[in-house]
């Protein structure tokens, strides 16, 4: 009986410890890519409408995930790419970036489309790292990441996957994240 009680207490302590030391985290969707390399098509309008600099920074934002265990992303062509990125003024929509990811019933991603909306941030088109950051965030979704989750009692960390743009890239503040951070990398590496 004594042994039972000791075992019970031990297991209970381990359980409580495991739960209370859990940190905030970047959540993941159940779906993922089933290949090691992906291609991304960048709509030609990005270059023609917004110029070389933004076009390059958006590309760098998408490719930022190549430093993780996620499938490597390279530039692809229209019609045959796994991911595509569009950028336009979609009007007042409530968002700066939107990602539409299509996946099979067995949770394998078929393709993913990212939309970058210049409506709210039209005054910041020369803030190239902002667009790099939004492109990086949306590519996180395209790879199967959900948003960063923080419970009230938990310590907040940097994350590119926070749900509001201003939380990861504040144009008038000091927070300027434009690449995956520790919780994002942990989540993507656990996934792939």
């Amino acid at each position: 009986m004594k042994r039972t009680i000791i075992c019970l207490l031990l297991v209970l302590a381990i359980s409580i410890g495991a739960i209370s030391f859990a940190n905030a985290y970047t959540a993941v969707y159940p779906y993922s890519w089933n290949k090691n390399s992906l291609t991304c098509y960048f709509n030609a309008d990005i270059l023609s409408n917004y110029g070389t600099q933004i076009s390059n920074y958006v590309r760098i934002g998408v490719m930022a995930w190549n430093n993780t265990d996620a499938p490597s992303i390279s530039v692809g062509t229209l019609g045959s790419s796994d991911i595509s990125v569009d950028m336009d003024n979609y009007g007042y929509t409530g968002w700066d970036g939107y990602n539409n990811t299509n996946y099979s019933p067995s949770n394998i991603i078929n393709y993913s489309i990212t939309y970058l909306n210049t409506c709210y941030l039209s005054g910041y088109l020369s803030e190239y790292n902002l667009w790099r950051a939004i492109a990086c965030h949306e590519t996180g979704h395209a790879l199967g990441l959900n948003h960063y989750i923080l419970a009230p009692s938990e310590t907040e960390e940097d994350s590119i996957m926070k749900s509001n743009t201003i939380e990861y890239y504040n144009v008038s503040g000091t927070t300027k994240i434009y690449a995956p951070c520790t919780p994002d990398i942990s989540a993507i590496n656990a996934k792939y």
């Binding site: 569009d86 299509n102 201003i166």
Partner: protein, 211 residues
């Protein structure tokens, strides 16, 4: 027999606790899954068999101007706070994206210059337009007919291409379903926000003149 029980009972307990721990870890790993999100994706797919065999999910990142850390600041920034239900809807295309305009019949006005029975044109990203489909974001899913919602709203500036309409304040923060049990978040990510709606609305109910 007692000796056997002495060994088996701890073993069962260990297995049980290990299961609980692994299940907790699994839930944290999965996080906000898209349970219930079974949209049929038809956008730009000519092969209908392929379309019906797949489904899509969308995630949205919300504009910086729509970030609120608490209900009070969101309420202050809302032009209207109403309870209402969907009476009609129509869709429009912007690029290859589909947007739905939900016509919300106001059942009660908590804040704003409006009266019961007014209809608010609320825009939400997602919907079907011909052969095109855009999935609704998990945080702000499709609104249901015959369901009552609490809505924190603001009117967009006039846009010469798209006109003016209403958006939910705080991106997905300013909306909840109204049920007999109270306010129900449309997404788990908004649960901590919605739990304060009741107290906030109760305060408004007493402090603000009604239409």
């Amino acid at each position: 027999m007692r000796k056997v029980a002495d060994y088996i009972l701890p073993l069962v307990l260990i297995v049980l606790c290990a299961y609980i721990i692994s299940d907790t870890a699994y839930v944290r790993l999965i996080g906000q899954t898209n349970s219930g999100d079974d949209y049929t994706f038809t956008a730009q797919e000519s092969d209908s068999d392929n379309a019906s065999a797949s489904r899509s999910s969308a995630s949205a990142s919300w504009t910086s101007s729509e970030y609120f850390s608490n209900v009070e600041s969101m309420g202050s920034a809302s032009e209207f706070i109403i309870s209402g239900h969907v009476v009609d809807s129509f869709t429009e295309m912007r690029g290859s994206l589909v947007f739905t305009h939900f016509q919300i019949y106001a059942d009660e006005i908590y804040k704003g210059e409006a009266k019961n029975g007014d209809v608010f044109d609320l825009l939400i990203t997602g919907g079907n337009y011909g052969d095109y489909h855009t999935a609704y974001a998990e945080d702000l899913p499709e609104l249901k007919v015959d369901t009552e919602y609490l809505l924190f709203l603001y009117k967009t500036p006039y846009d010469e291409r798209y006109g003016e309409y209403y958006l939910v304040r705080g991106g997905f923060r300013g909306i909840a379903e109204i049920s007999e049990e109270g306010y129900i978040p449309l997404a788990e990510s908004n649960a901590s926000f919605v739990k304060n709606f009741s107290e906030y609305i109760d305060k408004m109910d007493y402090s603000m003149p009604k239409n």
